[in-house]
Amino acid sequence: MKAAVNLEKTEVAEFYRRMLLIRRFEEASARLYMQSLIGGFLHLYIGEEAVAVGAISLLEPQDYVITHYRDHGHALARGMDPKACMAELCGRATGASGGKGGSMHLFDASRHFMGGHAIVGGQLPIGVGIGLGIKMQGKNAAVMIFFGDGAVNEGEFHESMNLASLWKLPVVFFLENNLYGMGTHVDKTHAAGRDIYNSAEYYKIPAVQIDGMDLLEVREATTEALRRVRAGNGPVFIEAMTYRYRGHSMADPVKYRENSEVEEWRINDPIDRFKALALEEGLITTEEMEAIQKEVAEVIAEAIDYAKESPFPELEVIHNNVYAHRTSK
C-alpha cells in the first residue's frame, strides 16, 4: 500500500465517499434487480472501486471517459447523478437516457462520459477516435478508455493500440484485469497469460501494471500517465489488477471459481484498505467516516426512491432520437 502522506484531508474524505457510494449503489442495484425493478443484464463493479475512483478523480472536465457495460462505477466516479443513474437502471423517464439505454449503456455527455458500451471491445476504437478528435482540434484533453481482460482478445484491441500509437493520440488505455471474462479465466484465453501490460511494448506504448485494489497506487500511476499523455507523447497503458467479488452478471451462478479465491481478494478490499490507512495516518476520523457512511446511505435511499417513484417513459418517445430529426417511420 502506498503512503497517503500527500493527500489532503478533504481528498481522503472524497475518495472514501466515492468508493463507498459505488459499493452501496451496486448493492442496492442487486436488490432492485432481485425485485425485478431492474431488468436486462446487470454487471456489478463491487471490488473494483479503487480503479474507477482513483483514475477518474484525476481527470479534468474537458477529459473524456469511455468504458464497457460494467459501467456504474465509472459513471458515478465521473460524477453522474446517482438518481439519474438508478432511474436509468429502472428504465424510468427520469433516467440518464430516459430509460432507453439501461445499465449497460449509460451516458452523461455533459460530463464527457461517453458510455457504457456492451459489445466487448467496441469502446476501444471509439475511444481512440475521441483521442483523434481531441488532437485534431488541439484541445488540451485526454481520453481514458476502460476495458477488461476479456476484451484484450478482440481484434479491435490490436487495431486500437496500433492506431493510437501511430497517430500519437492522447489516450490512456486502462485495463481492468479482474482475471475473468465472464466465466473464463485469462490464463485460458490469452496466450500471454495475465501480464497483459506487456502487450503494449510492441506498439511502443509505455505501460505499467499496478495493484488495482490500492487507490493510491492507481492515482500515482494515473498521474504519471496523464502527465505523459498531456505532454503530447501519445498513449499510455495501465493494467490494474483487480477482482469482481460478484458474478459476471446477476445471471451468473459462478461455478468456475472457488469461493476461497474471492475471500483472498477480499482481504485486500480497496475500501477497507483505504479506510484503515486513512485512519492510521490520521487523515480521517471514525466520526467523519460514519458521517460519510450516513450521507452515502441517504444518497442511495434517495436514488432508489427517486427511481421507484419516477414514471416509465411515455410510449410516444419511442421514435425520438433514432435520428436527429424525428421521422414518421
Partner: protein, 325 residues
C-alpha cells in the same frame, strides 16, 4: 415420447452428435467452465473434456474462422456465437469465407460447420443485445438458416444440420429456451426447407418463425375467440425457404400476414410477402400485410421494449385493419 424444453432438446442433439461422431466438437465463449451463457451446454465440459468443448477467447472473427478451417480438414465444428448481435464481428468470416468457399473452389472445398447463436429481443437487453439478423444470413447464397420454435424442431433441425455439408446458422431464440414440447424417443429429423402448418384455418394465413411463430399462434387463439380461424405457418428454416407451403395456404385463405421480430423496414418478411403476392396474386383479397419490430434501436425500458417487439395484440390488430376480420 418425452416432454422437454428447447434448451434440453438442443443439448440432447449436441450430445448425440458428440457421441456419434468424433469429428464433432464445440467451440465458443463460455461454453465450458461457465456451462454456456444460456446453459445449453451445461455439464458438457465434464462429459467431453476441454478439447471437444473448447472455450474460446472473446474473438468472434478468430474462432469462427478457426471453425471454417477445422471444417476444411474434415472436422464437424459447432461454433457458438453467444448472441447474433456479436455475429457482426464474425460476419466477414461467415459471409466472405464460409458461404463462398465451395463456390469459389468449384466444389473442391466444403465447410460443414454449424454456427449456433441466440437471436431476438425481449429480456430488456436493450439496443445492442436485442437484434435478429437471421434474415440477412438467409439472403446469402451458400448459407443455410434454421430458426426452430419448438423442442421437436430444435432437435430435428439440429440433427438435419449435422447432415448438411454447408454452413448452417442455427438461430435459437433467447426467450424460447424454456418452452416445453413433446419429442419422440425414436430418431427423426426435420428436413430443411419444410415449413410446418401449426394450425389449420380458412380465414387468414399468419406466417412466422422462431418466437414469432408462437406469437402467431397466440394471435390465432385470440382470433378464434372472435370466431375467425387462422392458419398458422412456421417457416422453421429461412434458407431454404419453403414458400410453397405458404402459398398453398394463402390460396385457400386469400389473406396473409407475415410476422417478424426484426425491424419491419427491410426485414425478411419483405421477401416472404413479395413472394406470396408473386405466386398467389390472383387469390389475394388484399395486400399481404407485415407486422414487424418498430424501426428503432430496441429501447431498454420495459414498456418501450414491449411496444417495439410484435405481440399477439399487434398481429390481431393488423389483421383487423387489413382484412376487417
Amino acid at each position: 415420447m418425452a416432454e422437454i424444453v428447447i434448451r434440453d432438446a438442443i443439448a440432447n442433439g449436441l450430445r448425440e452428435a458428440l457421441e456419434a461422431d468424433e469429428r464433432v466438437f464445440l467451440m465458443g465463449e463460455d461454453i465450458g467452465a461457465y456451462d454456456g451463457a444460456y446453459a445449453v451446454t451445461r455439464g458438457f465440459l465434464d462429459s467431453y473434456g476441454p478439447e471437444r468443448i473448447r472455450d474460446a477467447p472473446i474473438a468472434e472473427s478468430g474462432f469462427v474462422g478457426a471453425g471454417i478451417g477445422a471444417a476444411l480438414t474434415g472436422m464437424r465444428p459447432v461454433v457458438e456465437i453467444m448472441t447474433i448481435n456479436f455475429s457482426l464481428l464474425a460476419m466477414d468470416q461467415i459471409i466472405n469465407h464460409a458461404a463462398k468457399l465451395r463456390y469459389m473452389s468449384n466444389g473442391q472445398l466444403s465447410v460443414p460447420m454449424i454456427i449456433r447463436t441466440v437471436t431476438g429481443g425481449g429480456g430488456q437487453l436493450a439496443a445492442t443485445h436485442s437484434q435478429s439478423f437471421e434474415g440477412w444470413y438467409a439472403s446469402v447464397p451458400g448459407l443455410r438458416v434454421a430458426v426452430p420454435a419448438t423442442p421437436y424442431d430444435a432437435l430435428g433441425l439440429l440433427r438435419a444440420s449435422f447432415k448438411q455439408q454447408d454452413p448452417v446458422i442455427f438461430a435459437e431464440h433467447s426467450l424460447l429456451y424454456g418452452v416445453r414440447g413433446d419429442v419422440p424417443d425414436e430418431y427423426y429429423e426435420v428436413p430443411f426447407g419444410s415449413a410446418a402448418v401449426r394450425r389449420h384455418g380458412a380465414d387468414v394465413t399468419i406466417v412466422g418463425y422462431s418466437r414469432m411463430a408462437r406469437v402467431a399462434l397466440e394471435a390465432a387463439d385470440r382470433l378464434a375467440q372472435k370466431g375467425r380461424e387462422a392458419e398458422v405457418i412456421d417457416l422453421r428454416t429461412l434458407s431454404p425457404l419453403d414458400i410453397e407451403t405458404v402459398v398453398e395456404s394463402v390460396r385457400k385463405t386469400n389473406k396473409a400476414v407475415v410476422v417478424e421480430e426484426t425491424w419491419r423496414t427491410g426485414g425478411f418478411a419483405g421477401e416472404v410477402a413479395s413472394a406470396i403476392q408473386e405466386e398467389a396474386f390472383d387469390y389475394l383479397d388484399g395486400p399481404v400485410a407485415r407486422v414487424g419490430g418498430l424501426d428503432v434501436p430496441t429501447p431498454y425500458s420495459l414498456p418501450l421494449e414491449q411496444a417495439t417487439i410484435p405481440d399477439a395484440a399487434r398481429v390481431v390488430g393488423q389483421i383487423e385493419s387489413s382484412f376487417g376480420l
